[in-house]
């Protein structure tokens, strides 16, 4: 495997998305509403962690990249770093992200190079993540009055982070902007089927200039990173 053929920024962007979301989902362990969901979220987190590890290894040392970079060096979209919130918030984040990641990997799989091989492998995993998010969106949206309110609130509150998914990524052989229409179509269908309303607010935050792909992150990310990195930084070079 040669590192020269892999576009570094593109690999890091995809890896950071996967790692950060994996960490967020891992935070549910010990806290999920039911045991089956705890296992499901942990399994999804594990898939994402596996993707991140492959991607990091293509461009450098995975531990250094995950544990020793500062916040500004991370290229993940702001959506994935948003706190878990209630279960509906986590599901809304999963819905927006897995629909995007499925489309992205689907396109990437038919390009050339190392990223394509990873995408071809991972696209099947993401299909299960997407299915999981869709089924829960339907169940919560078309569920009890309480779950319905919460699901709508979650969609509304995360909508402003959805536009960033389609920002260009340097070196990526796929144009994310070209996925937007299909993403919107999929998400709209699910939201309507869940008897909910597609958010009508802006899909960008007012302070999003540059945003995650340029290393600009939201406040909760710093705290997440501190927790994720502190063990490695406290014991440099330690191993099992």
């Amino acid at each position: 495997m040669t590192t020269s053929t892999v576009p570094t920024t593109a690999a890091l962007s995809l890896a950071d998305d996967a790692l950060v979301l994996s960490h967020r989902l891992g935070e549910w362990i010990g806290h999920a509403p039911v045991l089956e969901e705890e296992v499901a979220l942990a399994n999804i987190a594990l898939d994402l962690l596996g993707q991140a590890r492959f991607l990091y290894s293509m461009v450098g040392d995975e531990d250094e990249l995950a544990y020793l970079r500062e916040e500004r060096a991370f290229r993940n979209v702001q959506l994935v770093e948003q706190p878990n919130g209630d279960f509906a918030t986590t599901i809304a984040r999963q819905l927006f992200f897995s629909c995007y990641q499925g489309l992205l990997y689907g396109e990437l799989a038919s390009t050339d190079g190392e990223l394509a091989a990873l995408a071809a492998r991972a696209v099947k995993e993401v299909a299960y993540h997407q299915d999981h998010a869709v089924q829960w969106t339907l169940r919560l949206g078309d569920g009890t009055p309480e779950s319905r309110i919460r699901m709508q609130r979650a969609l509304d509150s995360l909508w402003r982070y959805s536009g960033e998914l389609f920002a260009p990524v340097e070196g990526l052989p796929v144009e994310p902007a070209a996925l937007r229409e299909r993403w919107l179509e999929t998400v709209t269908t699910v939201i309507r089927q869940a008897t909910l309303t597609v958010p009508d607010g802006s899909d960008h935050t007012p302070w999003a200039a540059g945003a995650g792909r340029q290393g600009i992150h939201t406040e909760p990310f710093g705290r997440m990173l501190a927790e994720m990195q502190h063990l490695h930084r406290t014991h440099p070079g330690a191993s099992w």
Binding site: L46, L48, R121, A122, E125
Partner: protein
């Protein structure tokens, strides 16, 4: 590529290593062993493909293969993880499927090549053989399995997902 007698023998040995998470299956039956190449005296390179990118068993598989091949006098064993072409549950052999069912895990149904996962055929209960089974969770004890329940005998069981 020409395969030598030694390579065939080493492949057979590497392939007979049990899967660390599903010890009823060998790596060969699981279909994750991609190639064994002798690159010099006492040097061998093994290619392994992960079932899922995050499969934590890969490291244990690599360690087990290394140990078994060292016992065969191969001083330098390197195990490489390859992604392409991606592993599919179709790669599980007929014998592997039979063993899974015997172990209480419903084997994966055939996937249509490249197409969406077919969900029309029901999954048979590995305990009583009934087709009246219900999905409880898409994710079970490992990422590659789903959790189902048999409505006939009442037993929950794992189903190796189509992938």
């Amino acid at each position: 590529m020409v395969t030598t007698v030694l390579e065939e023998e080493l492949r057979r040995i590497a392939g007979s290593v049990p899967d660390p998470e599903l010890p009823v299956l060998t790596l060969d039956e699981l279909g994750v062993l991609r190639g064994v190449r002798v690159t010099g005296p006492g040097r061998v390179e093994v290619e392994l493909t992960p079932t899922y990118t995050g499969c934590p068993a890969v490291e244990a598989m690599a360690a087990d293969i290394t140990e078994r091949l060292r016992e065969q006098g191969m001083a330098e064993v390197s195990v490489r993880t390859v992604l392409s072409p991606p592993w599919s549950s179709d790669a599980i052999s007929a014998e592997g499927r039979r063993k899974l069912a015997e172990f209480g895990i419903a084997p994966p149904r055939p996937t249509s090549a490249g197409g969406p996962v077919p969900l029309t055929l029901s999954v048979r209960c590995p305990h009583c053989g009934s087709l009246d089974t219900t999905l409880l969770s898409r994710f079970s004890s490992t990422a590659c399995k789903a959790l189902r329940r048999c409505e006939a005998c009442g037993e929950p069981f794992d189903h190796f997902k189509e992938f």
